[in-house]
């Protein structure tokens, strides 16, 4: 039981962190141009 008290909040926290990261990525426009992102990794020049 004591294990649960630690593990359940921990599991929820991990999930929330992942959710927060996804929201940040969405907000910063990383999902706006999926085709372009696939192309950019082939580019040799190291811009931005």
């Amino acid at each position: 039981m004591t294990g649960l008290a630690l593990l359940i909040p921990l599991a929820l926290l991990c999930g929330l962190v992942a959710l927060g990261a996804f929201f940040m990525a969405l907000r910063s426009g990383q999902y706006d141009d999926l085709d372009g992102a696939a192309m950019r990794m082939l580019s040799d020049t190291e811009d931005d």
Partner: protein, 711 residues
């Protein structure tokens, strides 16, 4: 430190402005790098960012640079570009993002609640179960409130108008299940259905998310092809100074200067200059029209030969284009009355389900069960019949078919377009630009020898005249290399003149009027004279495609604005009745007549003159070479020179409707099996979760069979 001295920063920071340009030529990582690294080297441009999906470049630049300057900068890098109006706030993209956020929240919640539920199913009891139920409630309540919002909102909107759609049973099911589970949790009951409610939301949001992403991609593809009429023009003031003015600031009596290769920003009257205009966007005719001082010119026309000075007669909402746009808007209102397949199913499904739940409640009360137990059973009936599979049945099939069609170069812009396409009973085609390529193709090029061809290519490369472009494309396709010429010069309105090893060569307007064909040019090499004629060629597979449509049970008809004489040949080649001399309003009336006869018309057209008919058709398709307005109005846009996509899309749409109906049957079959269990009170949260996932998986798997549908 030395480097800093070499690149001095401007003393006062200038306020930068952001402009958008459509660049259809961006294809690969190399193009992106070329644009993003090349543009900032131009003085006044701070940075450039390519959006590959939308084929769009966002440029931050000094306000002193006008759109033509930016266009020229891109042209120097080797890319054709068209300035775009400020996209403003993209409503569709915002909606897409909202659904994606809701999906993420529902996914997070569903996973965590499932984790807790699995512990309960494997035997957690007493205080542990109680705690797990509370934890589930803690996660589920905010999730339902947030992720369920799209459904609640749509359901409320439908109910307020006295209609019902798929969202109504979904909302009732989710809300009742959540409420009942909360009650169970508070009173310490054995079962809570939080996992079921949240999982249901997750599956449905997944379907909705796929749907909106697919539509967004198609829309972006079309928007990339979209060229604005003209964002503005150079206005000449009294002192003879010219100033770049935006289109919405143009007023009648202003004098504007239109360079060769530019589009007109307003309707007007030629003041000086002698040129020809490409008004194919209006008439669908590819032959340029000659204009002299005093002739009327229309906004959107492309100036081909020489500079023109035009006095503005009408601008903005008063132009001819704006008139046609209004006609289209009115014609398109009928389409919004179409009721989608899923909603038609829901009309029958929702009342049945709710009646069933109410009946089981009453029957259990009569049979002597307590209020609490009867309510539990009614809720479980609602949960098990909640149209999870039904909600996925349509979007899953649609997304798979749209993806398959997109790989074939067919962009489906509207979710209901395929359903409407599958229902159509008669196909009406425009001629110029739809059955034909809509651009001149040179005839009898093989009469010329290799030397003449390479000279011809060199001449054609030097001009932007449509006939030169047609020659260049045809010759380059044959692998001809251009010869080196001296002293190439273009005389506006006349043609191109040059020297080849001391012999004068020219590509010019024919000196004697040509009675056979309206489109011709004369090629001279020394004393030799060749008359080159052009035709608007039929799309390579037009006849087969029309035959395929007839084989699929559709009636076919050609409706054109052209002279009946010009239609004879095409009507014979395709074996189809053709009607000529139709103005935009006549085409609209023709469609209304067919509609009154009970036909559901698929309209295929490209010109602005087809716009109202495209809007009025039960379904509509346009080639990617069509005018902007037509592409915006058409439900489906297809790429390339072939007409086959029309038949392919029709076949795929019919297969999709078949699979959707199969999916409905599967979902109902599953209900026939599960509902008796629910009414008997045998459905535990575990059974509900398993049943729901399995039925959704089956429906999605069935939809995936459509992946090969666009063959």
């Amino acid at each position: 430190m030395a480097t800093r001295a070499l690149h001095p920063k401007p003393a006062a920071p200038v306020e930068m402005r952001e402009s958008f340009l459509a660049v259809p030529g961006i294809h690969c990582a190399g193009c992106i790098a070329k644009v993003e690294n090349g543009l900032p080297k131009v003085i006044g441009i701070e940075s450039a960012r390519v959006n590959m999906g939308a084929k769009r470049v966002a440029i931050r630049h000094d306000p002193a640079l006008s759109p033509p300057d930016l266009k020229a900068a891109l042209a120097r890098l080797g890319f054709e570009a068209e300035p775009l109006a400020d996209p403003g706030i993209d409503v569709a993209a915002a909606e897409n993002r909202a659904v994606l956020r809701a999906l993420a929240v529902a996914g997070f919640a569903a996973m965590n609640i499932m984790l807790l539920s699995v512990s309960i199913w494997s035997g957690a009891e007493g205080a542990t179960r109680q705690m797990f139920h509370w934890l589930s409630a803690l996660i589920a309540l905010p999730t339902v409130a947030y992720a369920g919002m799209p459904f609640f909102r749509a359901a409320w909107a439908a109910l307020r108008q006295g209609r019902t759609n798929m969202d109504v049973p979904i909302s009732i099911g989710v809300l009742l299940t959540t409420g009942m589970s909360l009650y169970e949790t508070v009173t310490g009951g054995a079962h809570a259905w939080f996992d079921g409610a949240v999982m249901l939301l997750f599956f449905l949001l997944a379907g909705r998310c796929l749907d909106s992403m697919m539509r967004g991609r198609a829309r972006a593809g079309v928007a990339a092809l979209l060229k604005q009429t003209a964002p503005g023009a150079l206005v000449l003031d009294e002192a003879g100074q010219s100033l770049w003015t935006k289109a919405d600031r143009l007023r009648p009596t202003m004098r504007i200067l239109v360079a060769a290769g530019e589009r007109l920003a307003a309707d007007g009257r030629g003041l000086s200059g002698d040129s020809s205009l490409d008004i194919s966007f209006l008439t669908g005719e590819s032959a340029p029209v000659r204009v002299h001082a005093g002739d009327a010119v229309q906004a959107g026309a492309l100036n081909i030969d020489g500079p023109l000075t035009v006095e503005v007669v009408a601008a903005g909402a008063d132009t001819v284009i704006a008139d046609i746009a209004r006609l289209m808007e009115e014609a398109g209102q009928g389409k919004s009355r179409y009721v989608r397949l899923a909603d038609r199913a829901a009309r029958w499904y929702a009342p049945c389900v709710h009646l069933l739940a109410a009946m089981s409640f009453i029957v259990w009360i009569i049979a002597g069960a307590g209020l609490h137990q009867a309510l539990l059973i009614a809720v479980s009936v609602l949960l098990i019949t909640c149209p999870c599979a039904l909600g996925l049945a349509v979007p899953a099939a649609q997304v798979v078919v749209c993806g398959a069609l997109m790989r074939k170069g067919v962009l489906v812009k509207d979710g209901s377009a395929l359903e409407r396409l599958a229902e159509s009973t008669e196909a009406v085609f425009d001629k110029t630009g739809t059955l034909t390529l809509g651009r001149p193709v040179p005839r009898d090029l093989d009469r010329l020898d290799a030397e003449d061809r390479s000279v011809l290519l060199a001449l054609a490369q030097a001009s932007r005249h449509p006939l030169s472009i047609a020659l260049r494309q045809a010759l380059e396709a044959e692998g001809v290399r251009s010869a080196t010429l001296d002293a190439i010069r273009e005389v506006p309105g006349e043609g191109l003149f040059a020297d080849r090893r001391g012999v004068p060569v020219s590509l010019a307007r024919p000196r004697c009027p040509n009675p056979l064909s309206e489109l011709a040019t004369e090629y001279c090499h020394g004393e030799e004279v060749h008359l080159l004629t052009f035709t608007d060629a039929l799309r390579p597979d037009a006849a087969e495609t029309l035959a395929a449509l007839r084989a699929a049970g559709l009636l076919t008809l050609i409706a054109s604005g052209d002279r009946p004489k010009a239609l004879e040949e095409i009507a014979r080649a395709t074996g189809t009745t053709a009607i000529g001399r139709l103005r935009p309003a006549d085409k609209l009336a023709l469609l209304d007549r067919l509609k009154a006869q009970g036909q559901k018309v698929l309209m295929v057209g490209d010109g602005l003159n087809d716009g109202p008919a495209l809007a009025a058709g039960h379904a509509s398709m346009a080639p990617a070479s069509a005018s902007d307005a037509s592409q915006l109005t058409a439900d489906i846009v297809f790429m390339g020179d072939r007409l086959a996509p029309v038949a392919i899309a029709l076949r795929a749409a019919r297969r999709m409707v078949r699979v959707v109906k199969q999916n409905f049957a599967l979902a109902i079959g599953y209900n026939l099996f599960a509902v008796p269990l629910a009414i008997a009170g045998k459905v535990t949260p575990l059974v509900a979760a398993v049943a729901m996932s399995v039925s959704s998986l089956i429906v999605v798997a069935n939809a995936l069979r459509l992946n090969e549908s666009a063959k």
